[in-house]
Subunit: 151 residues, 2 copies
DNA sequence: TCTATTACAACATATTTTTATAGGATTTAT
DNA sequence: ATAAATCCTATAAAAATATGTTGTAATAGA
């Protein structure tokens, strides 16, 4: 399949969780609480957050009372940034990035198709920010609550 | 990364190769020759072609003088058909297909984003046929030849 | 200063999935 | 009968996914 890796998916959820908690007033969010809320192993999240930190998408605060916070404003962090940090590139096939990868790039018709799809995806993911996701999530949560507790 | 599996990529090249050779007049194309032309292990191609056969994208002719041919006209086979046959679905994340996959689908903002991206990709891959890829490949090959042998 | 908390680092290990190769059985044209 | 193909099953190798262990370093607060 064309599959987003779990790293990409978990990493995004991690970032959204950070963004939401930060918005609610938390200074630094500890990873353990994210792991519990999202139901993801903290050990795995520890591995995932390393590249996010290297790419300055999150900042860490060590010691008691420490934790993580967003590296910049939620509206300035695009999904594409997260995926790139976690997976190196944001392309569908390697030959799009590295024309030595397949031997017959110069005559391969499929190449243009993969490239077209990659561009499509990249544009899309460059247009969506953490802020946007947060917004959608809030609306869904509110709707779910209205449904659960009808007055 | 968001990565097209090698199955999807090899399967597409296999289908394009079949289409091209069929166009050139071959009745049945033997897998061994595809494997050699494309530089892919014949054993691996044998596994890849099974779901293509099950989904009637190719027909097989057993025995000596046998081989494979397209199940229908190249213009009626879309990339999406190939990918679906090879990978089950054509979605970026499982939760898009199966709302039990993630627990918090009802409040997850990222879900809509993955769904949006999946729809984008699916539309694109539904719009591209084997015929289209063949066409692009032919043009590229012609251009490469002109460059190699300037009169 | 002491203690609890938290990030950070370096591993090791296990499981699952993907990718790839191998051997042989079956079918069929000649 | 024989050679040429597909077909079928098993296995190996590699990568992705996930958990576990054992620490060290930094910091807030008592
Ligand atoms: S160049 Fe990579 S699939 Fe054709
Ligand atoms: S519902 Fe699957 S990532 Fe949110």
């Amino acid at each position: 399949m064309i599959k987003l890796s779990t790293k990409g998916r978990y990493g995004t959820r991690l970032m959204v969780n950070l963004a939401r908690r930060q918005r609610l007033g938390s200074e630094a969010v500890i990873l353990k609480s994210v792991a519990e809320e999202e139901g993801i192993s903290i050990r795995y999240l520890e591995q995932i957050i390393i590249p996010l930190k290297i790419n300055k998408l999150v900042k860490s605060i060590r010691g008691a009372g420490g934790g993580y916070c967003l590296g910049r404003k939620a509206e300035d962090i695009k999904i594409c940034d997260i995926l790139k940090a976690l997976e190196g590139t944001c392309s569908l096939v390697e030959c799009v990035e590295d024309d030595q990868f397949c031997e017959k790039t110069s005559t391969c018709g499929a190449y243009e198709i993969w490239k077209g799809a990659t561009d499509l995806l990249r544009n899309y993911f460059e247009s969506v920010s953490l802020e946007d996701i947060l917004e959608i999530g809030n609306k869904k949560t509110a709707a779910a609550k209205r449904k659960a507790k009808p007055k």
